[in-house]
């Protein structure tokens, strides 16, 4: 893109510093809100991912199921649902012993009543309540299987939490986008009015809408870039403060940060092009 337009944008930025700074701080406020939410989302997603990794399904086996049958079942599970680990009756009793820890209670139980089982770590695509329920139903159809357990209630809660986070992300994203469009539209209107004489002269000289609008679009991009950097700096400060009080609070990964900057710039570009299309029609014939 021609350097001329960047020079014009910078000239306007300098000529109307008050307006430019007001725009930067207004946008920074909206973007900081989005960035804070991103930070929360990122850390929540990390926590949910950690919990999600621990989602597993326990398939209790019939006492009659022989070694060959169990191996055949494991192969089918591996093909359809995920990786499985065999836990024999003796291993299950040992784990139970370790968990209970009180020999008197164990003596009262007498013989080992625990069945052998398969611990199934599901494929990522199946780690939601609906899929897990369906898997459980299917697994219960196998003759070697006595029962299937997967902690449906907390899986449901986890799914609801994920869905809620996604909905909130969309709502916050929309709110911030609307705020940005509103701020940019009004700023650009003021910027065009402040340079009305120049715009009118350009139009009389035969400047296309693109020629007139491009410096304003670049100015909006410069202001948005400054606002994004301010917002990220604020959120970095917040993360540093939180990290001293809470373990594991991390800043946004580079991919998220770059996406945030890129998204804000794309939005600013779209909003300013749309706004200028309307505004320029009111200036000059």
């Amino acid at each position: 893109m021609h350097l001329f337009f960047w020079r014009e944008a910078w000239r306007s930025f300098q000529a109307h510093r008050g307006l430019a700074l007001t725009t930067v701080f207004s946008l920074a406020a909206a973007l900081a809100l989005a960035a804070v939410f991103l930070l929360v989302s990122w850390n929540a997603s990390q926590a949910l991912h950690w919990i999600g990794d621990r989602r597993e399904m326990i398939v209790y086996l019939n006492d009659e199921a022989g070694e060959t049958q169990v191996q055949s079942l494991q192969a089918k599970i591996g093909e359809l649902y995920g990786t499985s680990t065999y836990v024999s009756r003796a291993q299950a009793w040992e784990e139970f012993n370790t968990q209970v820890g009180d020999p008197e209670i164990l003596k009262a139980v007498g013989t080992n009543p625990l069945p052998a089982s398969l611990r199934v770590r599901l494929k990522p695509a199946l780690q939601n309540f609906a899929a897990m329920s369906e898997c459980a139903k299917q697994l219960e159809q196998f003759p070697e299987v006595e029962a299937v357990r997967f902690g449906g209630e907390w899986v449901q809660r986890l799914d609801a939490l994920n869905a809620g986070a996604r909905r909130t992300a969309i709502a916050v994203g929309l709110l911030v986008a609307l705020a940005m469009v509103f701020v940019l539209h009004n700023t650009l209107r003021l910027a065009v009015l402040a340079r009305r004489q120049q715009v009118e002269v350009m139009i009389k000289l035969g400047a296309s809408d693109g020629f007139v609008a491009t410096p304003f679009v670049f100015e909006a991009l410069l202001e948005t870039l400054a606002a994004v950097l301010v917002a990220l700096a604020l959120v970095f400060g917040l993360q540093q403060a939180l990290a001293q009080r809470l373990d594991g609070v991390t800043f946004l990964p580079i991919e998220w940060t770059l996406s945030f900057v890129g998204g804000a710039l794309v939005l600013a570009w779209l909003a300013s092009v749309a706004a200028l299309g309307r505004i320029l029609r009111t200036v000059g014939a």
């Binding site: 009389k204 400047a207 809408d209 020629f211």
Partner: protein
């Protein structure tokens, strides 16, 4: 090149142009003479599509009638040079930047295009030594010459001048008229609007007289177009002593 057919323009209750028909050929020199509010500026604004006729048809080159899209209007204006009474220069830019802006609007952005074209236009109007000055630092005559440089820098086929000497003292007015005369001699069609008969005399060429929005003497082109035999000087003793640099637009 420019043709008006039964063009009327109304602003609310006021009829600015009333059934005006006339034409202007390539390379012609035409002066529109009329009192204040006779419709001269409206006529010029109709040519540049800054306003639309209430009725009638206007043809500019191959563009004929109807409301043009914004893109086509911009394209049309890039082929026409316009000079205004109040110069319409950008006060926060140097003389060079004001003229260079028109070059960039025409789609030339590299310095190797912009600088020589701009300097040449400034030289043609005798402002090459003032390229760094701001318009506010120039005399009115120099400002108008700067506006002329901006109008001719892209070598337009048509040059419209709306009362170009209105704000100037006689010597500067003479210089501007002499400059317009040279631009015409180099091949551009020049259409000048003025309220002052002495300016029309000095400018020469064919004359259209507008009175209350109508062409005088019945409004037929034959009557309205009063040829003036030869360009004359306009109180020009000073202009003869210090003429602006020769126009070499066709070179």
């Amino acid at each position: 090149m420019i043709q008006f057919e039964h063009v009327s323009k109304r602003y609310g209750e006021r009829l600015a142009l009333d059934d005006v028909s006339w034409r202007m050929n390539e390379g012609e020199r035409v002066c529109v003479l009329g009192h204040s509010a006779a419709g001269k500026t409206t006529l010029l604004r109709l040519i540049t599509h800054e306003t639309q006729p209430t009725s009638g048809t206007i043809a500019i080159g191959t563009l004929r009638g109807g409301r043009l899209s914004r893109a086509h209007r911009a394209l049309l204006r890039r082929t026409i040079g316009v000079i205004y009474e109040d110069f319409r220069l950008l006060g926060d830019r140097s003389v060079f930047e004001n003229v260079a802006l028109a070059v960039r609007i025409a789609g030339h952005f590299s310095d190797s295009d912009v600088i020589p074209r701009t300097l040449r236009a400034l030289e043609e109007v005798g402002l090459h030594g003032k390229q760094a000055a701001l318009p506010g630092e120039l005399s009115f005559g120099e400002r108008q010459r700067c506006a002329i440089a901006r109008a001719i820098v892209n070598r337009p086929a048509i040059l419209l001048a709306d009362e170009p000497t209105g704000a100037l003292e006689p010597r500067s007015a003479s210089e501007v008229l002499a400059l317009l005369g040279r631009i015409h001699q180099e091949g551009a069609a020049v259409l000048l609007g003025t309220t002052r008969p002495e300016v029309a005399e000095a400018f020469g060429g064919r004359r259209i007289v507008l009175e209350d929005g109508r062409l005088r003497e019945g409004g037929t082109p034959e009557h309205a177009f009063m040829p003036v035999p030869a360009p004359q000087s306009f109180e020009a003793p000073h202009a003869a002593q210090a003429p602006p640099a020769p126009y070499t637009g066709g070179a």
